[in-house]
Symmetry: C2
Subunit: 360 residues, 2 copies
């Protein structure tokens, strides 16, 4: 008999999960404070609308906004005394504390953090493959039952996610440093552009675009996330501020013409960045690989990139990563194509033979 | 008669410029403290090795490392009393001051900042199209002669760069905010990853990768750049620190369970980032355009991306931007394809008809 999952909250995450679980053979029922949202999710193939005849879920997934997740978890634990309950909020410690404070049965509660999202929100943006290949952190409380943890793992694995298990404190400290602090940094750097002149902002290059891409994120959602992980984010930002103070002090000295010790501080700061960035895992969760980059000049016409990648495929070379850089005021761009080191010579020869302007 | 350009310093920038100027019909002679480097540049088509018979340059381009640029400019102004002299250092105020302090003839000196570079350095990495479509800021001193400014503009335009003219202070303040501060921020965020556990860093997503990509930059070069623009970078970082202090204060309050005013601070910080990032010009130096994004599931096999872009081309849809996202532990990736809003429906229909899994 198939597992019955109740999805509470049919936004982007809940609806996507419903679609994916249905495809994986789970029985899914849906509820949402907005009947319209629930019906839209049903029409998208996320499951059936919950009613009195379907009040027997094995697993309840609370996919409500982060600031109400804990309340809905407590309510769900009380309403379905046999069910395992999980939530999908991106911060876990504060939810677990609130569930305990609310008198929820922690043995049946297991936190989840599926690390998937889109720039758009709502059921209309849902995709059945949203969790395909994404990390999904399962976060048991100290007293979660093993079978409860197992059921959450089963659902996460069924939708294609790469599951890992962590304690709440460990999880929250990790996302503070790999996700929340980068968001704050991107927002602060982008915020400095508000008062800059047009000619100045016209000098923006790819570096600025990369650093600030996530600064376009939704303030309402991020206020909830940062508030939910306030202590862990504060700790990392405080350490970062100490590093920043040191840099500002060194630049102050240099601006006064005094370089003693100051160059070492600046050099060390950039060097520490080198060390840190080298730790970020590469494609497929593998250890970072030193790919080689080949730069190809691509005319800005329909199909030009297609021809490039088709011809790379014909040469038997797989693209590991790609970065497009658009020239300022020019009708073409540069494609920085990352391939495994052994493939560089073959690729250069193949592309040059086909008339591409290419550089290693 | 063609313009004679002496390139002093045959690293990445000098050699690339030599190649590009030769192709554009300029006469180029080369010198470098390292005879080997100069010969390599010659062999790459960057010009002829300078000797006693070629001691009559019209324009001298000092492409030396930033920390010696001013000295070489002063020396060049003295050695060739008829020539216009420019340099390519990415900070302009400190060079101009040092040239004046060194007694150089400021009427014949014009600063340049070609905004082009690569992750690799040296003549071996040179490309004749390095300046194609890149910004090139021409920075006259208060007393630069108009014909001197014109000659530098002529060379920059000839190599395909998009030329703009700014004063040194305006230029240095601009690059502080659009280039140097983002570098420091990326280095600081990446630096925080040094002491993080492996399971934590395994949760890294595309956001962290984007924010920290430039943290892999060369510490030696960046120490020179940041030291050369110390006052302007310090000013922006000091303003950024004030914003950061406010965020840390708000998170401190929130961690203590006191949300009065704190949520507004966090929300405003992310909102200001939204405003700032929207000011960054888009492709081709045009005003930022709101492209629509279509997400396509791409199997990780040679030629798959090629087939995708070929079929986009067949559908007559031009790719405006592209972001590849690699799933964790899965044999495929997601291509986030940006197109003009009017093309979305056509593209979705065309790709679905060809069997792609696609989502708008």
């Amino acid at each position: 008999m198939s597992v019955h999952v109740r999805v509470v909250g049919t936004g982007l995450i809940g609806t996507s999960l419903g679609i994916a679980l249905c495809r994986a053979g789970f029985r899914v029922t849906l509820s949402d404070p907005s009947p319209t949202a629930a019906r839209l999710a049903r029409d998208l193939g996320a499951g059936e609308i919950a009613d009195a005849s379907t009040d027997d879920p094995d697993l309840v997934v609370v996919a409500a906004p982060p600031d109400v997740a804990a309340d809905v978890v407590v309510e769900s634990l009380g309403r379905w005394p046999e069910a395992v309950v999980t939530d999908v909020a991106s911060v876990k410690g504060s939810v677990a504390h609130a569930v305990r404070d609310g008198g929820g049965d922690l043995a049946r509660y297991v936190g989840s953090h599926p690390m998937a999202g889109r720039e758009r929100s709502g059921a209309g943006a849902a995709r059945g493959d949203l969790f395909d290949g994404r990390a999904w952190v399962v976060v048991p409380t100290g007293t979660s039952r093993p079978d409860a943890v197992g059921l959450v793992r089963q659902a996460a694995t069924a939708v294609g996610a790469a599951v890992s298990v962590m304690g709440a404190a460990e999880h929250d400290a990790a996302v503070a440093v790999v996700s929340h602090v980068p968001q704050v940094a991107a927002s602060l750097v982008a915020g400095r552009l508000r008062d800059v002149s047009d000619p100045a902002v016209a000098l923006a290059g790819q570096g600025l675009r990369d650093v600030t891409r996530i600064a376009g994120s939704d303030p309402r959602l991020w206020t909830q996330i940062l508030a939910g992980n306030a202590a862990a984010v504060r700790d990392v930002l405080t350490a970062l501020r100490a590093d920043l103070d040191e840099v500002i002090g060194a630049l102050d000295q240099l601006a006064d013409g005094d370089s003693r010790g100051a160059l070492e501080v600046v050099n060390r700061t950039v060097g520490h960045g080198n060390v840190g960035v080298a730790r970020i895992p590469g494609k497929h969760g593998a250890a970072p690989t030193a790919y080689e980059t080949v730069v190809v000049v691509v005319p800005d016409t329909p199909g030009a990139l297609g021809r490039l990648f088709t011809e790379m495929g014909e040469a038997g070379v797989n693209l590991e990563d790609l970065h497009l850089e658009h020239g300022l005021g020019q009708p073409f761009g540069l494609a920085e194509v990352a391939v495994v080191p052994g493939a560089v010579e073959k690729l250069l020869a193949a592309l040059e033979a086909r008339g591409w302007r290419v550089h290693d």
